[in-house]
Symmetry: C2
Subunit: 244 residues, 2 copies
């Protein structure tokens, strides 16, 4: 069956996450309701990242099967008008045969934004964690470097019964950008709450509460109790979804 | 009399501008109400930039006279708590004798943010003008270069009776930043609606409706009718206030 691909972005502040759920407002729920109105029949969508409540997307990919490919630019404009300004439809296209937004991506990249200054930045408050304390970026980068590679990230994930927590982190690092501190991490896929747990651990390192050298033993322990802090959702942005 | 200096930032979306006005919510009004609560008596503040309704500030400077300098860090924290997250109090300090936020600055810098892509960016929608059309950055830079220097900007200003519209633009230019197009402009001072008029003219140039070569004659005309478009307020940010 032909597949339509949508590239979208959203401010997650007003949603109970990406994934459709009964009786609450979700990105997928709003998108499927809009699609049903435009196409005249219900469709079932799949997303590249199941972002949690409050988490944002600068670039999320969604796909769904159709009997016949519609006028994609008209579809993009209609959806964008119906869903904006909280959800934007950046692009709509016919995907290659067999394309699936969940299984086709080669990697996902997330960014996490922290403001270490005493006062908040009013213009970015929706997507920046206002920590309000200085951070040791060098120590945080040492911790981030130890995440890279294939590991069982059970200590950094909310377990789902029967699912593996082995993941391959391709790159991870911290840098300064204007007055903000930014974490960038790329992996083929992430397990649940993984990025926020990695950030929480790094922040503890940056505040001097934990040491970067602990990372290998924390990974080896496969015990979620070993990671104390989980960073709040609103600083997290699904940044890019990559193919091939 | 001793002078207190406050460095603040705000999301202008929910305010009828900076300047105090009866019966509407303004940044200065909210700030003075909070100051009265903290200090126990009313004060009259002065700001470096009288930003219009909907215009934001990444860095605005405010000053006021007091009989005695209070504990400035405690003042900063109290105000920040009372006014956040829409208004942030970045710093509070005792200013040098004779300091006045309106008259002491050596320059003000503004930035204006435009998104030329078809769809909005949900995370930056409060402070980016979603134009949705591609712009010729080179032509816009040619127009911006012609603004630099001392000119009578009457064609680009909303006149105030009896006030001069001669201003000295120190620098002006456009650049690309991520997917956005950004205008940066610095002057000792600006007249009313000047930056939004400069931006509006440049956008007309960037869309091919006007030519950069027209700038000298538009300036010479001293006629506001010569500038058609005024860019909307929400893309404008008072970026920095400089002293000497």
């Amino acid at each position: 069956m032909p597949v339509v691909r949508l590239d979208i972005a959203y401010d997650g502040s007003g949603f109970h996450g990406f994934a459709r759920q009964p009786r609450v407002r979700t990105v997928q729920g709003e998108l499927e309701a809009a699609l049903e109105k435009v196409l005249g029949h219900p469709v079932e969508t799949t997303g590249a990242g199941r972002t949690d409540a409050g988490v944002h997307a600068r670039h999320q990919v969604v796909s769904f099967e159709v009997d016949e490919i519609p006028d994609v630019e008209r579809l993009r404009r209609s959806l964008d008008r119906m869903l904006g300004p909280e959800i934007s439809v950046l692009a709509a296209s016919e995907a290659p045969e067999g394309f699936n937004a969940r299984f086709s991506p080669a990697w996902r990249a997330y960014r996490y934004f922290i403001d270490p200054r005493p006062a908040t930045d009013p213009l970015t408050r929706n997507w920046v964690w206002h920590l309000g304390r200085p951070l040791d970026l060098e120590a945080m980068n040492a911790a981030a470097a130890a995440f890279v590679g294939e590991h069982d990230f059970a200590s950094f994930c909310r377990q789902r019964p029967g699912a593996t927590t082995v993941r391959h982190v391709l790159e991870a690092g911290w840098w300064a950008e204007e007055h903000r501190v930014v974490f960038g991490v790329t992996a083929k896929a992430f397990c649940h709450q993984m990025v926020r747990s990695l950030v929480g651990f790094c922040v503890d390192v940056g505040l001097g509460r934990r040491r970067a050298e602990e990372v290998p033993e924390v990974i080896a322990a496969r015990d979620r109790q070993r990671v104390g802090t989980i960073a709040p959702p609103h600083g997290l942005v699904l940044w890019e979804v990559g193919f091939s």
